[in-house]
Amino acid sequence: MTRVLEVSDLHKSFGGITAVDGVSFHVEQGEILGIIGPNGCGKSTLFNCILGQLKPSRGEVKLDGEVVTGLKPHEINRRGVSRTFQLLQVFPQLSVRENLILAGQEHQGGMLSRLVGPRDAGLGDVAEQMIGFFNLGHLADEMAGGLSYGQQKLLDAAMAFMGGPRLVLLDEPAGGVNLTMLADLKQRLAAINAEQGATFVVIEHNMDFVMSLCTRVLVLAEGRVLAEGTPAEVRADANVIAAYLGH
């Protein structure tokens, strides 16, 4: 197995507060890693440091063995790492199709080819497949802002896959999504994982979602790694139980 992502001794502090305090972990090709932990334990900050949105105070992030710490978010994204945000982030004034094309268009060709080339940047078919795959067919030409919350959440996830990423970081994909749609989403993610060998890191509060989807789980508490293992191992870990029950 190859290591897609390797994070070593990552620190991030804001003023006097340390949000991420020496986190190390790695993600293997084809894996679905879940990251759980109580609110404010530094999960989202960890994502932001890995993806270049924040600059880590210390530590290193490697993609396929290559150091990417300090690169800008769009540079990391173009290396095949995409993400979703905790809060919904679609472009409300673009149609569903346009949102998807946008999500992939910067991954190929040069600036000039994007001006003089085809309108859909050659991504029309891929977008169409993605629309079909996420059951958004009847909404393809609707403005994304007019979709229901759950539909936008699906679109948000679909956008993360447009560039053909090797690694996708999902920040609370299940938040605020109803049960039917949740099952749908989980099934889609599992399918992409199985069919394309895509690798995921998922931050989630919904335990059922994490435990049934992920192959390995990392537990964070107060900016540190508290436990790591298969869902079953983590569930049985005394430290984790203590952290969650607050003893």
Binding site: P73, V90, Q93, L94, L102, E106, R119
Partner: protein
């Protein structure tokens, strides 16, 4: 800000656009010299407003400097052509100069946003005016550059008002087509993404820095093109037209017409440039009426006139959809009960 694409879905905008084009081609045949001058001015200001609409309406970057770029373009064109160079050389100079300066003006936008960006561009605009006024060796200062010649296009003279009007109209046509292409290309999509959510755009691989600079540079280039046409239209260039007031006016044109709508600048410039002439009976009161109109419009619809139109269309569509649904339900229940 409302989206660019919603209005393009029906056939109506095309029909209206075609009707508008026919009017623009036929109407001037019956107009006197002054009428043609005003109509040409409308075309020129529309080009400048299209540029600002690109920067502000599509890419979401506030600029109070568009008037300064019209000035830069006008001086570039006037200085080149009064020194014996052909119009095309002046135009090229205007384009290059505005591209470079516009690109540089984009850098502050990478650091600050919204009202701070407005203040910086405002300061730039005022500085540009000072340069126009004070660098007499280049701009002839407050005396201005006189006798700016009108170009010959493919050997045809545009000295006459009608010929020059058609020349302006053709230029507007070319600019419109290029802009239409641009906003529908991946660049246009990236501009809208930049306007709506730069952080998300960045995470999708969109180089927001570069697109911001491009948006400023291209918007400024259109300002420069407008200026290069303005100079031969008026045949005289002095600093007074290029105060902050012009930037404010261009901004109002964009907002009144509908920021982020392709046809917004056409409409905004129409109201700002043509209407005062048709309402001549109101002479001095016109600007007051215009000011009141702008304030009332913004209070009602911050997305401008086309924003209102879009809302009306959307409302009607929803009503029709719900009517269809209601009818379908009625038939369904009727069938069930029978």
């Amino acid at each position: 800000m409302t989206g660019p694409r919603a209005t393009t879905r029906t056939l109506w905008p095309w029909l209206i656009g075609l009707a508008g084009l026919v009017v623009l081609l036929v109407l001037p045949l019956g107009l006197a010299r002054y009428g043609l001058y005003i109509l040409s001015m409308w075309a020129v200001m529309t080009i400048a407003a299209i540029g600002l609409n690109l920067t502000l309406g599509y890419a979401g970057q506030v600029s109070l400097a568009q008037g300064a770029f019209v000035g830069i373009g006008a001086y570039a064109g006037a200085i080149a052509t009064t020194n014996g160079l052909p119009f095309i050389a002046g135009l090229a100079l205007a384009i290059v100069l505005c591209f470079v300066v516009g690109w540089l003006l984009g850098y502050p936008a990478l650091r600050v946003q919204h009202h701070y960006l407005a203040f910086i561009t405002l300061a730039f605009s005022t500085l540009a005016f000072l340069v126009f006024r004070n660098e007499e060796w280049l701009t002839k200062g407050i005396y201005g550059i006189t006798d700016v010649p009108r170009p010959r296009i493919f050997g045809l003279s545009t000295d006459g008002p009608l010929a020059f009007y058609y020349f302006c109209l053709a230029s507007l046509g070319l600019v419109s087509l290029a802009t239409w292409w641009l906003i529908r290309s991946p660049w246009g999509r990236a501009f809208v993404a930049l306007r709506e959510n730069p952080v998300r755009a960045l995470s999708l691989g969109v180089d927001t820095r570069r697109y911001t600079l491009i948006a400023f540079a291209l918007g400024s280039v259109l300002g420069g093109i407008a200026g290069a046409l303005y100079a031969p239209l008026v045949e005289f260039v002095d600093p007074t037209p290029f105060t902050l007031t012009l930037s404010f006016n261009l901004l109002m044109m964009v907002i009144v017409g509908g920021s982020g709508f392709f046809f917004g600048p056409f409409l905004g410039a129409l109201i700002s440039v043509l209407l005062p002439e048709w309402l001549r009976f109101a002479h001095g009161y016109y600007l007051m009426l215009y000011a009141i109109f702008v304030m009332a419009l913004l209070a009602w619809s911050p997305t401008g006139i086309l924003g209102i139109v879009q809302k009306l269309i959307a409302d009607r569509r929803t009503r029709r959809a719900s009517a269809t649904r209601a009818a379908a339900t009625a038939t369904f229940t009727a069938e069930k009960s029978s």
